[in-house]
Amino acid sequence: METIKQAQVINWLEKTAHVIGENKDYLTKLDSDIGDADHGFNMERGFNKVLEKINELAASEDLQAVLKNTGMTLLSSIGGASGPLYGSFFLQAALPLEGKTELTVEDLANSFGKGVDGIKARGRASKGEKTMIDTLEPAIDALLLSVKNKDSIETALSNMLAAAEEGMKFTIDMIATKGRASYLGDRSIGHQDPGATSSFLILKTLKESIIQPNS
């Protein structure tokens, strides 16, 4: 069966740091519309730490250890609301991966599913509240569907990303009821959620690290 290799996961984490860096101002701009204008800085600080550790991460074949280490690194460097949320995502996503050195679509769905459960438990939010969950939950649902349909990795990741993008865009019309943006009430309508956007960038980078654009 085709699988996602350890090196591709490492490549994903490394690329994510660059993509977040390139989008720092964009994420911060989104957060200045409905939050406190720090989401880009927070995410960049966190993923720069992951980048500093990339050789240490790459040295471990065990993907559980890789995701756990990533989670701890983000948790201790991002701060704000997104630190514990992304930290929980990676820490929980690591749990089902004991002994794994490569991932099937099913492994990925289980892992990310646990990760999103971690975010929901930590932030006590659910879909429709204008948060990163609105990107992540549909993405995981798409992965689960791919498991059922026995899709290839390529199809699974494409469907996942399409669902994530749609979810992210749905946040534009939502009223925020969690986090800082909730203080705006109705005035939060018309703005895309910064956390939903950073989640989309992370998933987009995953797909692009595994599927070469012209292959």
Binding site: T28, S32, D36, A37, D38, F41, N42, R45, L75, S76, S77, I78, G79, G80, A81, S82, G83, P84, L85, G87, R122, G123, I175, T177, K178, G179, R180, S182, Y183, L184, G185, R187
Partner: protein, 356 residues
């Protein structure tokens, strides 16, 4: 942007180093960042620890010292600190009396402090979190993250710090903290925005002749944007919002030592009424002259007197700030004998000192 800073990434570190140089009674750690008392406390004393984003100085680091906090964890500017900071800080500070985290109600602070409390409790270090949510500008808690933690924090840290010094155990300190929070209400306003060093430009736009009523300490939007007006009218608006605020109920989370997990507790703040006696804080947002704060206090005193509300104690100055924002906030905490006793107790910190 014109600020007294060197390099932007060094802002927090250099301010901590300056505090250390100025105040030998505190000690700092830079990896991870926290500020604690230099001398060990009595064995069995509850460690009272707070923290939050930087930019609100002197809160919280300036309140570390005898009679107030044992330690404080500063985050990046306006960003919650991280669980490893709180965890290491608590381990270095606690002395077998347990740990009380005083947490302002912001999503980031709540989650980071919860993770730290889970780690400490898992290691057998009894840790409780008490939330402060006193900003009446946020009316509702059902469709928002709830009222923000603002001015009551200063008063609460003083009172609970004194109680811990006097020998209250963890449960009694938590009870007192919950009580002070339930009796505190605040409302703030901004004349100007503030500039976060990393952003380099104002946090929000506000015209030369506009003011924001109900602003938060990070420049969060308030209740309304109006044309600039007199100090008396502004004070009237802030005070009225506080005095006319109805009973306010919300669900807050605390650690349950019997269930070894979080439990939700309903807390109600009774509306203020005539006959109440208060501790009053007229607070500057960072760039407001003390003279203007006294002008506000004058009117606050007049309004409360007319309503037969006594301002039994007061604090006038900049204690919980929003960097270089111009503006003020008013906080009233309904006092009783226990609260007044601990308010009057000696305190010796960089930011607040009396009776010593």
């Amino acid at each position: 942007m014109k600020k007294l800073i060197n390099k932007i990434p060094d802002v927090i570190t250099e301010q901590m180093q300056g505090m250390l140089a100025a105040h030998p009674e505190i000690e700092i750690s830079l990896e991870p960042k926290y500020i604690k008392r230099a001398s060990a406390t009595r064995k069995g004393k509850v460690a009272i620890i707070s923290g939050g984003g930087s930019g609100h100085e002197p809160m919280h680091g300036g309140f570390v010292g005898t009679g107030m906090l044992d330690a404080a964890c500063p985050g990046e500017v306006f960003t919650s600190p991280t669980p490893d900071q709180m965890y290491e800080c608590a381990k270095a500070t606690q002395n077998e009396g347990g740990v009380l985290f005083l947490v302002k109600n912001y999503t980031g602070d709540i989650m980071n402090f919860e993770m730290a409390a889970e780690m400490l409790n898992a290691e057998g270090i009894q840790t409780q979190n008490i939330i402060i949510d006193d900003d009446v500008a946020v009316k509702d808690s059902l469709y928002t993250a709830g009222r923000r933690g603002v001015g009551t924090t200063v008063i609460l840290e003083k009172i609970v710090g004194a109680a811990a010094e006097a020998g209250y155990d963890l449960n009694k300190c938590a009870d007192l903290a919950r009580k002070v929070n339930s009796r505190g209400r605040s409302m703030g306003m901004a004349l100007t925005s503030c500039i976060v060093p990393a952003a380099g430009k104002p946090n929000f736009d506000i015209d030369e002749d506009e003011i924001e009523i109900g602003v938060g300490i990070h420049g969060e939007p308030g209740r309304k944007r109006i044309s600039h007006t007199t100090a008396d009218e502004i004070t009237q608006m802030l005070t009225t919002a506080i005095l006319e605020d109805k009973d306010y109920s919300r669900i807050l989370r605390e650690w349950s030592f019997s269930n070894n997990g979080w439990e939700e507790k309903e807390l109600t703040s009774d509306a203020f009424k005539s006959g109440d006696q208060m501790i009053a804080l007229v607070n500057g947002m960072g760039s407001t002259p003390i003279s203007e704060l006294y002008t506000v206090y004058r009117k606050l005193h007049e309004i409360c007197s007319a309503k037969k509300i006594t301002l039994a104690r007061n604090l006038v100055g900049s204690y919980i700030t929003a960097l270089d924002m111009q503006g003020c906030s008013v906080t009233l905490v309904r006092a009783d004998d226990e609260i007044l006793k601990f308010w009057d107790a000696p305190v010796l910190t960089p930011g607040l000192r009396w009776g010593v």
